[in-house]
Amino acid sequence: MRITIKTIIAALLFLLATQASASADLADAAKGLLSKNYSDKILATETIAASGDPRSAFLLEALLGGNLYATKSGNRLVSREKVSDGYQIKDIVTDEDLGVVQSGDLSKIRINNRMRGLIKDLVGRLTLLNEDPALRLKAADSVFKSRPKEMIVPLSDALAAEADSSVAAAMRRALAALNFVHGDTPEAQAEALLILEEQSDPEVKSLLSAEANRLAAIVNPSPEVQEFAARVDRALAKVDEKLAMLGIIENIFQGISLGSVLLLAAIGLAITFGVMGVINMAHGEMVMIGAYTTYVVQELCRNFAPDLLVYSLIAAIPAAFIVAGLCGVAIERSIIRFLYGRPLETLLATWGLSLILQQFVRTIFGPTNKEVSSPEWLSGTLEITGGLALTYNRIAIILFAAAVLFMLLLVLRKTSFGLQMRAVTQNRRMAASMGIRTGWVDAMTFGLGSGVAGMAGVALSQIDNVSPNLGQAYIVDSFMVVVFGGVGNLWGTLVGALSLGVTNKFLEPYTGAVLAKICILVFIILFIQKRPRGLFALKGRAVEN
């Protein structure tokens, strides 16, 4: 464990080092390590640490890990890596690749135990005092996880000098953990406990519960130990409570995120089904077309404008809207307009259409999944506190869904097209006699619903496989959302999607993902019995037809 963390630190340092020019000071100081005399070596080590060069920690890591060698020929300090025909060596200071040599050409720089302790100390200090706060944070976290006793002093020193509050908090936590584990006096441990119980981190929990178990196993404990054990238990309960709280928050977040996905998939359906009363079973395929449009836009960017590749996802949003929207208009004009007033036939015809579209996409793009890469600005996580991290792409989907909903509401409420659409929905013949081209409004409405489905496809391409079956996976869910929320009401769709998403995520820990989904389906089936028109039902005569 410690090794891997150190490797990470080393790798980070390495990254940093490639940007900075190799310092001559460091190279000079490192020459001292070639000496046979251990006191010379110690001096050299200290000079290296004091050089302030970003690569110095990397060098010391290599020395400590026994991966620092001197070449016999040029007396250069190198690190080596085993390859098939010998050892690949790199200059430790400049990171210059020096080719492949045999093991006999290298002599290892040896260290003794005294040096080992010193180097460990130095490496820890170096990273804890690094200029980059992110690296300091990492170092503090790794100390917290590995808890080496000899880091207590350097860590307290670093904490005293720390200016960044978040890094300081991490260091305080790490120091508390160190004091708690290695503390000599009960007072020091108790003090550390006070800090630890304020944390909300699974690591702290496991640390505390391990200690609690150890204390509980002591036969005939003295009163002091009993009292301490009670305090550990209390601290553990406190941490548990915080973790449970975080768990609930995380569940809500996950639920809202799933709900947003459902909302995106269902909101187009809420227009075509809710507003027009058309059952569009090919709705899922509109989502799929949107996802494939994203893929095509990405590939176009890759081939013609590689610089813009990171923004291809943004360009894909209008593209997907237009492509899926045009498909929708074409479908409405060629098929659906002949089937108005026959919802069951519409259902069958659009199902047939969905089969054709799937097979069409399969013929063009092949049956395998297509890779739509996540741009860099969407990867990574936002860590709110210890133990609660939200991924950026989930946050982006939530925001995107909210934006789409808002835009749609705006279109429906504030534009003349929205007005005409609502007029046609409420009374087609009256609207027609007022001079509204109902056929045109139908086509545009269907196009709008399909276009929104296409935009959902852009978002889904980030979290799901882009395959011809993409839409199929969402069609039943989308219908559930629309039916649950109530037809003809976008707010109903929002409430439906979010409540289904959150319920699903809260059920999952107890039942597993599949059973949770089954429970939701059964719940909706029962719910529809109670309120056949959904949560937010339209009232009046229009409902009967």
């Binding site: 089969l355 219908f479 059973l515």
Partner: protein, 392 residues
């Protein structure tokens, strides 16, 4: 109650036989001939004869016959009561699973693991004893009872809630789809105890007869044809009776029928349960002939496909549904074999084409044409008759 519902002018059977709808007798005749000729030609004619029906074809046709019975059950509710179920595959699969469980228990200690009680997949999952819901499936009569009861009870419970709260039209279609989807997910789970996504397979024998033997296969084919014939008669009986008239009234104007004093939900519930039981029987006959039942039978796509069989043949014509099932499935076998890429285009195109251009299906549309031809012939002598009479 039953008397008043089924009341007809003459005795029920006589009126059924004389009142069989158009093509009904011909249809039963064809079934009878098929039930006799197919086994005879398989057994008596030499394999070189062009009229010899090979055994694999017998099984294939047996499969189609089961599909036809399923289509019939969908036509009964969709064609006559206006209930479009997108989850009838669920009843079919449940019947199939009940039969599959019996067949699994019949394997006994001949399985791979040689456990006399537990089916192979349970041994594989380290189960030590049989779950309670597998009890009794070693007995054929019990299993057959379950073939009828499980789909029937599910349909009853589901329909009871759905029809009482007046869930109609597309809403009903969507929740039936949700029902079969939920069952699909449930049966995919290993800990449900139905073999997970592999389902039930490796069947050995049925009532002591080896399933691989030609004789058993022929018997299953004949049994399926008989079941189809009986199912057809039941459907005719229901649709010809007064109850059937009420159903049609419900289909065409549900609210008006309710206002006339009929308890719409009970009529619908009755026909829905009958239909589910028919679908269950079809599934039970299907499983021994194809040798496997797995959760994919529950997939919503399968259920929708059944609807298109009915739509192609002709909704509300009963034997049209059978015809549709045969045509579409034959097409499926042919195209998936010869042009696998093209089949989904064909199927999708069929959905679109049928709904747009053949709303009454093959049977309904051809009946309209024949009617027109007859009318033209009848009208041709009196061309000089005043047109104004017709206008009124």
């Amino acid at each position: 109650m039953a008397n008043t519902i089924f009341k007809t002018n003459k005795g029920p059977f006589v009126s059924l036989m004389t009142g069989l709808p158009g093509g009904g007798k011909t249809f039963l005749g064809i079934l009878l001939v098929a039930a006799l000729l197919v086994p005879l030609s398989n057994l008596l004619l030499p394999e070189t004869s062009p009229f010899h029906v090979p055994t694999y074809l017998v099984s294939l046709m047996g499969k189609y016959v089961c599909f036809a019975l399923l289509a019939l059950s969908v036509d009964l509710i969709w064609g006559f009561a206006g209930i479009l179920s997108l989850g009838h595959g669920a009843f079919f699969a449940l019947g199939g699973y009940a039969m599959g469980m019996y067949l699994m228990r019949q394997i006994g200690d001949r399985g791979v693991y040689g456990n006399p009680v537990l089916p192979d997949f349970m041994v594989f999952l380290n189960w030590t004893e049989l779950p309670w819901y597998w009890y009794g499936f070693d007995m054929f009569p019990f299993a057959m009872l379950m073939v009828l009861l499980v789909p029937g009870v599910l349909a009853f419970v589901f329909g009871w809630f759905a029809f009482r709260s007046r869930v109609t039209g597309v809403y009903l279609s969507i929740i039936t789809q949700a029902m079969t989807y939920a069952l699909l997910l449930a049966f995919f789970r290993n800990d449900m105890g139905f073999g997970g996504n592999n389902g039930l397979t490796d069947f050995k024998d049925l009532l002591g007869f080896d399933l691989q033997v030609t004789g058993t296969r022929l018997s299953l084919f004949v049994a399926s044809v008989i079941a189809l014939g009986l199912g057809y008669l039941v459907c005719c009986f229901i649709t010809q009776s007064k109850l059937g008239r009420v159903l049609v009234a419900i289909r065409d104007a549900e609210s008006r029928t309710r206002f006339s004093g009929y308890r719409v939900e009970y009529y619908k519930l009755f026909v829905f349960v009958v239909s589910a039981v028919l679908a269950g029987i079809a599934g039970a006959l299907y499983v021994p002939q194809v040798g496997i039942i797995n959760p994919s039978e529950f997939s919503p796509a399968n259920s929708i496909e059944v609807v298109i069989w009915v739509a192609v043949g002709g909704r509300g014509t009963l034997w049209g549904a059978v015809l549709g099932a045969f045509l579409v499935n034959w097409g499926k076998s042919y195209f998936t074999g010869s042009f696998p890429e093209a089949w989904l285009y064909m199927l999708g195109g069929l959905f679109v084409f049928t709904t747009l251009f053949l709303p009454k299906g093959i049977v309904g549309t051809s009946a309209t044409w024949i009617e027109k031809l007859k009318n033209r012939r009848r009208e041709s002598p009196d061309i000089g008759a005043p047109l104004s009479v017709k206008e009124e």
